[in-house]
Symmetry: C2
Subunit: 74 residues, 2 copies
């Protein structure tokens, strides 16, 4: 029979790396998605907490102020 | 009967805004995903072209040099 097609490659579900909410949940709850310039993704609520309290990226510990993140439109 | 549950909210498929390849395709082909600081997402191949030729974001026309984009780890 025909060669089996390769398994579909999973598309990653994007979620905030602190609260783990998915993009859909983040949007429907009125929050926005943000990325740090070190490339890690958080929701707007969690990232403003991190910037206020820890001032470093929870994932890679790079310095994190309000200059080092931006909205992410996906 | 029980109230119908709300329709599942679609999770967005992330893709490069120039070549439209999905994240999975981008990764399996050895490219990486990048975000501009204006929040728009491209694959590493397309964004280096844009920076070399147009120097502005194809989506929102903001100035785009190698300082205004970074890898995106999703
Ligand atoms: Zn969060
Ligand atoms: Zn980080
Ligand atoms: Zn591309
Ligand atoms: Zn843009």
């Amino acid at each position: 029979g025909p060669a089996p097609s390769p398994p579909p490659v999973e598309q990653p579900t994007i979620s905030c790396l602190v609260c783990l909410d998915s993009v859909a949940t983040i949007h429907t709850s009125g929050r926005s998605l943000c990325s740090t310039t070190c490339g890690h993704v958080f929701c707007s609520t969690c990232i403003s907490e991190v910037v206020k309290q820890r001032k470093q990226c929870p994932v890679c510990r790079k310095r994190l102020t309000k200059k080092q993140y931006h909205p992410l439109f996906i």
